[in-house]
């Protein structure tokens, strides 16, 4: 898809001028002859620009009916039947995306009936589209791609799809597709992509899958399928959260799988799990949350680049298996496994191409740092939720502390580092000033103070910085000289900062987006700003009391308790400003190692 950014400079200026305001649209919308001559890619760009600027309305669509080929209205939930009444008249429309447009119903898509220019239609998550809606689509035999996941379509509606003989991509995720219905779709011999997650398919129905000669992508996650027939063209397979007997039938030829997702999958017989798969081409394997114990299949997978072992039972004594296969590995996720520093030591020196490593939530400590520093291609490291302190006490000399982060200075490509929820204190951060390639860095701890900001000023490529839950003061923020490259500063949970000092910082550094609870935001973004602070605090207090029962004792819990002493809580009662608990998920997303 061509975006506005890809256009030449003057075309881009024209698009912006055309979509400046409602008034500017009125100036050109009657130039019918020009509109009809617009090349499709310009018309598509103009329409996309108007959608993005929220300037498009149904009757304006009319002027595009002889030029536009691609329309993406995904997530524009104001789109309703009136819009489709106009879209039905589009002569050359090839691709229409209406996913998440909740107002779209079966009758709303009636105008699409007979639009034989249409090749791609996405109405995923339009819950009001039912079997009646499918009947309207049957008059579009040109359809090659149809996405119906999580609509109101039943098995009867899916059965009707067998007349759309040109389908090559069919997404039926979350629909109650049964074995007989899947069997009736056998006539769709052009199918290459079939998504059946959460369907009612059993082993009986799965046998039919053999009949699709071109099938290369198959998703059967969350189904009761336990074995699969042979499928020789299969490249991507998702069996997450299934209980699996055997992945494919014994056969002389094996499917050349490239991508395999087995997240949360249980295997009846672990040793035979991969017996009938050609694993030497596999480049992506997700076995997170799975029941595997010995991982004896790993050494065979020589081409693997992406391996997700998070929340599996990978231990120090089985990590050897990763070493055997390691040379091509670029992305390794070991978060929430039973790996300790000794396990990382086993990996050291054997993963020359590893770029992304996550050890979040493992038992590693500072000893692991020197092992990590031997993985010389690393670009991103996640060490959050670990016992890392940032220093090692030298044996014998009690006063002599070695800063463990110094070891990472040898990683010349390091762009992202996550040290959230660790034991790292201000003093241990000083080696950071030498991390010259670092772009994303995040910390979260109530033990950090203004001093932690000092080494960060000299990071000349830093774009994203997050220091959450720290005891930063107005003075500290005021004297912080952020690197010129910084775009985002996340200070959520730094409860001592005042609104004024944050405002001042924003004024001085207009190019930086600052996130903080006291940063004034648009009224619509504010959630209940006038709630009495008392209830907020008691809520937090009750959360703290509950936490130890719900979760194993974590660093996070200790931090929260440290963060608010009794006196502070009493003080906070009188604070009129809101002080939300930081949203853990949001923060992790900012720094997720991807």
């Amino acid at each position: 898809m061509m975006e506005i950014e890809n256009q030449t400079e003057l075309v881009r200026l024209c698009l912006e001028a055309a979509g400046e305001s409602r008034e500017s649209i009125e100036k050109w919308r009657r130039q019918r002859r020009s509109l009809e001559r617009l090349p499709a890619h310009l018309a598509d760009s103009l329409l996309r620009h108007l959608i993005r600027r929220r300037l498009l309305f149904p009757s304006l669509l009319e002027v595009f009916k002889r030029s536009v080929e691609v329309i993406n209205l995904r997530g524009e939930n104001y789109v309703d039947g009136e819009w489709l009444a106009y879209l039905g008249a589009f002569r050359y429309l090839r691709s229409l995306n209406l996913a998440y447009c909740h107002k779209i119903s079966s009758s709303a898509i009636w105008p699409l009936a007979g639009m034989i220019s249409l090749k791609e239609l996405d109405i995923s998550r339009c819950v009001k589209v039912t079997d009646a809606g499918i009947k309207h689509l049957l008059s579009i035999p040109t359809l090659e791609k149809l996405c119906l996941s999580e609509t109101g379509v039943t098995e009867n509606g899916v059965e009707l799809l067998s007349s759309l003989k040109n389908l090559s991509v069919l997404d039926l995720g979350g629909l109650p597709v049964t074995d007989p219905v899947l069997s009736s779709l056998q006539v769709l011999t052009k199918l290459q992509y079939l998504d059946l997650w959460g369907s009612k398919i059993s082993n009986e129905g799965a046998c039919v899958l053999e009949m699709f000669p071109r099938l290369s992508f198959l998703n059967l996650a969350w189904t009761s399928v336990t074995k699969l027939p042979k499928m020789l063209s299969l490249e991507c397979l998702n069996l997450s959260n299934c209980t699996i007997d055997s992945i494919l039938e014994p056969n002389e030829e094996k499917a050349p799988l490239v991508k395999l997702s087995l997240s949360g999958t249980t295997f009846v017989n672990e040793a035979e799990a991969f017996l009938h798969i050609e694993t030497s081409f596999l480049s992506f394997l997700d076995v997170s949350n799975s029941s595997f114990n010995s991982f004896c299949f790993l050494p065979e997978m020589k081409a693997l680049e992406h391996l997700d072992l998070s929340s599996s039972i990978m231990r120090d004594d089985t990590i050897e298996k990763v070493v055997c296969m390691g040379a091509n590995l670029r992305n390794l996720n070991l978060s929430n496994t039973r790996i300790s520093s000794a396990g990382v030591g086993v990996l050291a020196g054997h993963l020359p191409n590893l770029e992304i490593l996550s050890l979040s939530g493992t038992q590693i400590d500072d000893v692991a740092m020197s092992y990590i520093s031997m993985m010389t291609s690393l670009k991103a490291i996640d060490l959050s939720n670990t016992d890392i302190k940032g220093f090692i006490r030298q044996v014998g000399a009690e006063t002599d502390l070695v800063l463990s982060l110094t070891a990472l200075q040898s990683l010349n490509h390091l762009e992202r580092l996550n040290l959230e929820e660790t034991q790292v204190r201000d003093a241990a951060l000083s080696p950071l000033s030498n991390f010259q390639e670092l772009q994303h860095f995040s910390l979260r701890s109530p033990s950090l103070t203004d001093t932690s900001l000092h080494p960060l000023s000299s990071l000349s490529k830093l774009t994203h910085l997050s220091i959450c839950d720290a005891v930063l003061t107005d003075y500290g923020l005021g004297s912080f000289r952020p690197p010129e490259t910084l775009k985002l500063l996340d200070l959520r949970g730094c409860w001592l900062l005042s609104e004024d000092s944050i405002m001042l910082f924003c004024k001085r550094n207009p190019q930086i987006e600052v996130r903080h609870e006291r940063r004034s935001v648009a009224p619509s973004d504010q959630v209940g700003p006038n709630r009495p602070s008392l209830s907020r605090i008691s809520l937090r207090a009750s959360q703290m009391n509950k936490k130890p029962e719900q979760l194993p004792l974590s660093v996070c819990f200790i931090d929260q308790r440290l963060k608010y002493s009794r006196e502070e809580l009493l003080e906070l009662q009188y604070s009129t400003l809101s002080l939300e608990l930081p949203h853990d998920n949001d923060d992790q997303e900012v720094m997720r190692l991807e």
């Binding site: 003057l10 075309v11 024209c14 001028a17 055309a18 020009s34 509109l35």
Partner: protein, 98 residues
């Protein structure tokens, strides 16, 4: 101004715009016409005719060429486009690859 340093752009209605070659080269399409060896008649006599581009639009295009040169030299001004010209100008810009 020497003749070989200029180029003549001719609109659909026959209006002639004489502009610097350097400015005209902002357009990738015109640059290709003027620099490709021999194959275009335009290369020899420095004249390019645009039967699809009206005088109003071609004038705006020429203004853009000069604005673009100045902008590249660090003069940060806005290039104003009248909304009623956007569609035709967009098509011309697309054709001229500028």
């Amino acid at each position: 101004m020497k003749k070989e340093d200029t180029v003549k752009l001719i609109s659909a209605e026959g209006f002639e715009f004489v502009i610097d070659k350097e400015a005209a080269m902002v357009s990738q399409t015109i640059r290709n016409m003027l620099t490709s060896p021999g194959s275009f008649a335009e290369t020899q006599d420095g004249k390019v005719t645009f039967p699809e581009i009206s005088t109003t639009i071609l004038e705006k295009i020429c203004q853009y060429f000069y604005w673009s040169l100045q902008y590249a030299r660090g003069k940060e001004t806005d290039f104003h486009i009248e909304p009623e010209l956007t569609l035709e100008l967009m098509m011309a810009a697309n054709y001229l690859h500028t």
